[in-house]
Assembly symmetry: D2
Homo-oligomer: 302 residues x 4
């Protein structure tokens, strides 16, 4: 399997540059007969685009993420054949990024990309752009639908923004940071309920290893932990060994699975010399992406 | 690729129950002409078996990990064919575990295994046993040799045991815990130097995603972070965005890579009702396993 | 890897129903900097569509195979990112196939599809349609370009049509069959020159096994042989063992590789009750598809 | 998946040089609870070793193929963990092959191996030796057992030896060839009954493509055909299109599957200058290997 694909039961292949003609994906392995919930997909794309989030950027708002379904679906129902879809980059104005043709952005992957490939799509990040995650959200929402039909629910939410852990104050913290022209990180917690006992394999394909792989593949994610996590190190075994975090020996044990992941602040800020509006806290937009990748990981292990 | 294999360039397949005839592995993809450093392998197995560690159990000490090479090697040099090796379980006394035939151990995977497979090798953990990691260490040491020849060095070490962060006091902390019949967790830090720019892929095959997958597949590991990690959440972007942790956009950027992982305390303790000597801090024995899995992850991405 | 993908170095994923919105593909793993020869692709699609072949059907002629490139290409040069392309089904008129909604065609896969999936895209064959091979030709032509740059040439041609082995008389044989409302099979021979010694692996990944897999995955192909093939059975070893067919022990030996494959007659004929014009000899259109699949197989082994 | 492994549901990894310490394999993915039929395995190994075949060589007879089970089996029943087994090379006398250290055998892969790997295990063929197929037979017999439990039967037999198609005269033909110090090829026909409708996938993972891949990976196999095969080319569609060979559109259709494959004569003959007794017709020994590879292909598709 090549590096733009994920999973071997539901194989999701992602394609598209952020300022090319379109981004999109192919989802192979979905069985025939799944009725696609198009409203849910629109809603998840809206969560990802940050339209409802205080401090979401103008750039985010202008992304009208209309999905065009090219194959695999007839009258809203899957055919069992590969599902190809695209989201046109209606707002693709490479000239806005002309200045990047001969410049690297600090904290971005521009330089390593050019070193690795010898060529670089300077048009606004190319594949490195977080825009690619829109395709993951489309595929992940289908996976969430299929999982929900099996009684499996995935819910992620922000539990910390900067030093703030009170959700009521997240908006305020982000607005303040936005005003300073700076950015701030966040921690997302994800809970999985209803997963049957026995998901995951004992050696390399441990459930936690697959969840970590899926989540760490999201831009800006710097860490993953489950159950007692890093904080557990300060407690003796006698105090915490009854806490499994929902996974024993790499396999789901029937109890709720809880994991957390941390997202760094975006480097593209006025303070760092990048003009225009910016996302002060990209972690807010990562929430549906974490759910999507979790769903894709689970659907491939069940 | 099935669930007891790791990697598609150097494919390592692990086999063997902890109290069956042997554990072992097959390593496919190693090119011809690598002279195996048998002394280094013995040394790494010794680190893993905990022989040199204060508080290492009698069980650990009795594991005489002699590797028998079945194929792929002629006169100490690899042939380019699959390398199969075994470590006999000389100390396999299933009768010691007879009592487990009808009992599940708390904090162990015994119960989920039986639910998943319908059958369970009750002989001391079977595949769930940490003994399986000895095979990983053999394979990983070959990978470390190959990486070293390319100038890549991997060094892991304990940086925290319980609440203690002063290495000079780790032995004392563990001994005290051992005496209490309890157990304690630890944090391991791993540093990778000399990795060329360009290792890792931008979307799903991000370097950090593969490192997380490799390390989270080790028994008792509860979390992985790199660069600024979880602690970075409290800092604004302007303060930390120059810290890459050695990886930009999923790809190595030529600077030192630093990651950390946390290991929980073993649940098999006198305090939890498990008789006999015990490992008060399994994190100590995990250090060479973290290096081995890191090496296997890197060798498959370079 | 899922069942609509081929190869793990250049991974080609095919999608699209014959009478849906579009067919297409994603080609992942192509390195940056390959200048695409769009003329060659048009020419290969034209060979596949049978425009130049006596007896090619009206259906074939109406297929205006215009490729739209969605990603992975900038100014005609590959970016190293996944190359997604589509061919719109401009002529998709599902109403022409309305009668198939409640009928199975003899010699076609209609019935097994419905049994397998429980649902069936009755619109003219869906995925089973040979139209899917147009996407293979696009991907395969890129592979042929890359191989040609390495000095590897692939040339396939018809060597037998029905009982006729004189190429000068193929057109006549097909025309006569066409007039009878019947169909006829053909044998294609493919020669590979310039392949470096050492392509292929000794055990399961033998070069001949991969060529057979690639070619047998083409609709209507009923057999594959190389070197002395089936006819060699009548000769003693002393007479033929100097003939390698270009492969020894599963590995290319530097001499010309020669293989043959046989295509059955189409079951969709007036004689079988299917109205309209028909392809009397689909083997003619399979020639560029055999080259394309050969190229995709080789590019994944080199 | 690396090149010494086959299949992704039941992943079989083969290892071992013909004159090293042992050959063997690991079979991963077999579910718990299969009672292994050790007698059947011995019987299949005996068929492969040619003990019962007129003209089988002294070399064949001396192979005492005793299987040692290292893991995955407890009290004769599979545990759901990887099954590792070895067959010791009791008769490994590298000194018999000393003369090969500086010589290549005609019609063998000796030369390409050395060119590919830069190093060569000159001890009697190394991995290229047909001895490796003994491990395939062990794994394939487990697959046959599992398939038989699902009602799927696989039966292969010789249908042609040289020009002879009367089975009663095969022994005579081979004996005569043996006496001449020459060798002769053969055609094996394999019939699969009881395979449920729906096995195989429509595009690349066509059932016939996987069967071809599996069978063409056997040493000395030069061709594969199913249903009407190569001979069908002489018949018009109207005469043969009711013959599916058991597969429609890449998917089993519930009728008997019939395929044929051809094996070339061995190049190691007295006539070619190779001393000692020889196998005049290796096709005879290939019969159980064809069944084994067919079983492994099917078990991975069902």
């Amino acid at each position: 399997m090549n590096s733009n694909s994920f999973g071997d039961k539901w194989t999701f292949t992602s394609f598209g540059e952020s300022h090319g003609r379109a981004i999109g994906g192919v989802l192979d392995g979905v069985k025939a007969g799944l009725r696609i919930d198009f409203d849910l997909i629109r809603q998840e794309l809206s969560r990802r685009s940050g339209k409802d989030i205080i401090g979401a950027s103008a750039r985010a708002k202008s992304e009208a993420d209309e999905v065009e379904w090219l194959s695999g679906v007839l009258d809203g129902v899957t055919l069992g054949t590969p599902i190809a879809f695209i989201i046109r980059n209606t707002n693709a104005r490479p000239e806005d990024y002309e200045f990047l043709k001969h410049n690297y952005r600090v904290g971005h992957a521009d330089r390593v990309y050019e070193q690795k490939y010898g060529i670089r799509d300077w048009r606004g990040g190319g594949r490195a752009s977080a825009r690619e995650t829109a395709a993951r959200v489309v595929a992940g929402t289908l996976a969430k639908q299929e999982l929900a039909a099996k009684g499996v629910c995935i819910n992620a939410h922000l539990i910390q923004v900067g030093t703030e852990t009170n959700p009521d104050k997240f908006a305020e913290t982000i607005a303040s940071c936005q005003k300073d022209g700076d950015s701030i990180g966040g921690i997302i917690e994800c809970r999985i309920n209803g997963l049957p006992v026995g998901t995951g394999e004992p050696i390399f394909d441990k459930l936690q290893a697959h969840l970590a792989y899926a989540v760490m593949s999201i831009n800006a994610c710097k860490g993953f932990e489950y159950g007692t996590g890093f904080a557990g190190v300060t407690q003796p075994g006698s105090a915490i060994n009854h806490i499994s975090g929902g996974i024993s020996g790499g396999i789901s044990d029937g109890s709720e699975i809880v994991f957390r992941c941390v997202f760094k602040p975006t480097p593209s800020t006025p303070k760092a010399g990048v003009k225009g509006r910016h996302d002060a806290c990209v972690a807010t937009r990562a929430v549906p992406v974490v759910e999507a990748m979790t769903a894709l990981a689970l659907i491939n292990l069940i």
